[in-house]
Subunit: 215 residues, 2 copies
DNA sequence: CTAGCTACCGAACGCCCGTTAGGTGTAGGA
DNA sequence: TCCTACACCTAACGGGCGTTCGGTAGCTAG
């Protein structure tokens, strides 16, 4: 329950929390309504359907991730620096928005296959993965990375980053900067990138905290 | 739908498939019954409840993982070798049993909190994580590993391994041996283990394929 | 031939689901 | 003062849910 006045945002906030914790299928409109002090019918004044609510969260989530990533990488040329920013930002966004990213990463199966929303989210996810794919391919082509299998390396690194939303706690023992630095270090050595030269600084304040992410 | 004659096993097999693909909450007993050519009532001759079915899969899954791990590590003394076996086996078990491991990793939230089953699975999961924790701590204590933060390194590596169940395909471009070798390499360099000495061989045929894992 | 067991089925129980139709109250502008 | 727009409500719809009860068909042992 958030202190925002905008009811649509309060609904999104409660929804992303419950979808992340119990799962979409296990969350009823009535549960959601109770969390924002409405009746089930009241929800439908702000939301077309339960599935449209999920689709909206996932669409805006992915769009924000892609937009932020393009902004961060803009003007960065060296593959090693680009990969460092990809690893750091994906990790940090998962740490800063655990509920939203859990829904983004885990609830694709809850969108009706073949519906426009389903295809749209898949396209967004593929677009994001394409940035990683291209970055690694470019690094290998330029001789900046040496890997046995590009796809394997990418999947290993992305799993490591996305896993962050499952365990990171802001009041835990390791500050976010340390997590990102550690993961960037692991990632760069995993692709045999030059370990000597400086790693570009990642300004965490440039990363999105989704307005509906529960506080 | 499996060709086994044992109906209890056919139910487990269909259940783990549907739980992994749609999620526990989105799978009904009637769906499950249809998949094994029974009526909903017929299921209850073999299973006490829907939740007991999930709990059984998770309990036996974790128990098999822990038992296999202890067997693999038995007699292996050097932390570097132990960690290599942990990484390789966790990766391979996720690749060989994608449905079971997805349920094990993702459906803990579907067990009623405070129920015996819920606490039991948490204890099993903690026991398994303890093996990793102890291995890394021992390696650091003995000077075999150098890490900034033990918990961070463990979580990064385990996320990488468990992610395998989400993307690995037996008919894909990389054979399982390559995946394991690659991940072991990434993991050992992540903890700054001695990169020179030989990595112990992991016999994939020693790893469990759960009898209910769909084929 | 019968008794008992296993493996089911048909029908129903009470409950909860997503969604909708139609109404109510309130706030702000003309 | 009336009007419109918004933000919600009560009540209900058809349907699916997990689960249970009371069977029944088929097999095996005595």
């Amino acid at each position: 329950m958030l202190t925002t006045t905008d009811p649509a945002l309060r609904i999104k906030s409660a929804a992303v929390l419950m979808f992340a914790q119990r799962g979409y299928a296990a969350t009823s409109i009535r549960d959601l309504a109770k969390a924002v002090n409405m009746t089930n019918a009241g929800i439908y004044h702000h939301v077309a359907s339960k599935e449209a609510l999920l689709a909206g969260l996932m669409r805006e989530g992915h769009a924000g991730l892609i937009e932020t990533t393009h902004r961060l990488l803009d003007g960065v040329d060296r593959p090693r620096d680009r990969l460092a920013l990809l690893i750091g930002s994906l990790t940090a966004i998962h740490a800063l928005n655990p509920m939203t990213t859990r829904v983004m990463d885990g609830e694709l199966r809850s969108l009706t296959p073949g519906s426009g929303a389903h295809d749209e989210i898949i396209a967004l996810r593929d677009a994001y993965e394409g940035i990683w794919r291209d970055t690694i391919a470019e690094g290998v082509a330029r001789g900046a990375f040496i890997v046995a299998n590009q796809k394997l390396s990418r999947l290993a690194l992305m799993s490591m980053c996305t896993g962050t939303s499952e365990w990171y706690r802001p009041d835990g023992e390791s500050p976010l900067e340390e997590v990102c630095a550690e993961f960037v270090g692991i990632g760069l050595t995993a692709v045999n990138a030059d370990p000597a030269s400086r790693i570009p600084h990642l300004d965490l304040s440039l990363l999105p905290i989704y307005p509906w992410e529960p506080r």
